[in-house]
């Protein structure tokens, strides 16, 4: 249960983070699954255009933190802010619209829709936003050359290698030019070389678009692509390096 709900959007705006560069912020998040605490006062923020790595051991709460920031989970206590708006006090429809219109997602196993072709998978966020099918597919196709996927537009997920499927998932996460891309172990299922390829493409595309990236990973070599990292331990967040302006 959220004990600090703010029903008034105006009041929420007034209490927005003072730092103009801060785009998304978690303040003192607390969340339990039944009797098991997952977050115990987690705080973090990411600046516009920043690539932030969220590290930590298995079960530390880093994915739960990502899900709270992305409006997938609602914390029991604490606040989530996006660009001056409270996310945690939004209703499900508002959070769903936020995820659709302003956020992109990449998960560990791509999670492509197996019935759709690769280009239809990439076009999905645009179709859900109401773009006409022809325009959505046109935009989607423009990503295939960029991510080294030429010729794979009509394949289904079962006909793609792990690295190819993850690059299709990356295109799907970025095609709608989201303000924030949430990437949860995006290279976790890939070998070193494929993982490196995905990270090079992810960071280059995000920087080109000015997309903020919240990157959950337990791999230091993946975190090294970020501008900065935080560590989640036992549901709390520690900072390792001083906050720096995004490159």
């Amino acid at each position: 249960m959220n004990t600090e709900r703010n029903a008034s959007g105006d009041a929420g705006l007034a209490a927005a983070p003072g730092d103009g560069a801060c785009l998304i912020e978690a303040r003192d998040l607390v969340l339990s699954f039944g009797q098991t605490p997952a977050l115990r006062g987690a705080c973090m923020s990411a600046a516009a255009g920043e690539i932030l790595a969220v590290m930590g051991p298995s079960g530390s709460g880093k994915s739960t933190l990502l899900h709270c920031l992305a409006g997938i989970l609602v914390p029991d206590a604490g606040q989530v802010w996006l660009d001056g708006r409270r996310v945690d006090s939004m209703n499900e429809a508002e959070r769903s619209a936020l995820r659709r219109d302003r956020f992109g997602f990449v998960f560990q196993f791509g999670q492509l829709v197996p019935e759709l072709t690769a280009e239809e998978n990439v076009a999905l966020p645009l179709l859900l936003s109401g773009l006409r099918r022809a325009s959505a597919l046109h935009d989607a196709r423009s990503w295939f050359g960029r991510l080294g996927l030429d010729g794979l537009e009509q394949r289904r997920s079962g006909e793609l290698s792990g690295g190819e499927a993850q690059r299709v998932a990356l295109a799907r996460g970025l095609v709608a030019r989201p303000e924030v891309l949430f990437a949860d172990e995006p290279t976790g299922s890939l070998d070193s070389l494929s993982g490196e390829h995905v990270m090079n493409l992810l960071t280059a595309a995000a920087r080109q678009q000015g997309t903020t990236v919240v990157l959950v990973t337990h791999e230091p070599r993946v975190a090294a692509y970020a501008d900065r990292e935080v560590i989640v331990r036992d549901g709390k967040v520690s900072c390792l390096s001083p906050e720096r302006a995004a490159r």
């Binding site: 051991p57 490196e196 090079n200 791999e219 230091p220 070599r221 975190a223 090294a224 692509y225 970020a226 501008d227 990292e229 560590i231 520690s238 390792l240 390096s241």
Partner: protein
Amino acid sequence: MSVPLTLLGLLEREPSHGYDLKRDYDAFFGRGRPLSFGQVYATLGRLARDGKVTAGQIEPGEGPDRKRYVITEAGVTEFETWLGEPVTPEPHLQTVLFAKVVLALMLGRDADQYLDTQRGAHLQRMRELTELKQTGELVDRLLADHGLFHLEADLRWIDLTSARLGALAELVRPAPAPRAGSR
């Protein structure tokens, strides 16, 4: 990186002037720490003294670099022996890092805080190497990868040590002094 052995290796490829050796060393092995000409000629002088290379006659022309160096049989043997030996795997058990953690625990300091500082420093170096990989040529990328994997291994050790700090503290902290009168 052993400069004399690397120069011997370059000379085994073909007889070369000092300038050629410096150019190739800097391109493949220097990586931001180029050899000075003084270092090149001093090394070649020692190798010549030890019979590993011979210096040819001074060739006609301008400039100081007019001797061509040739590797000797003794030089080839030394180089091949070195090449065939594995590099000693460093056990890394008595590193500065380990010493600092143990000392911090012995002294009742916050070892976790120290490990976090070290994590931050390691990740910062990994970021620099990752940037080098993204902008550099293949040789730079391979060298950066080597550094990244080693730093990652250190980080794994830091993570495990962090998880075991409680047990380590019990081991290294001195037992409480016996009360007066007790035996």
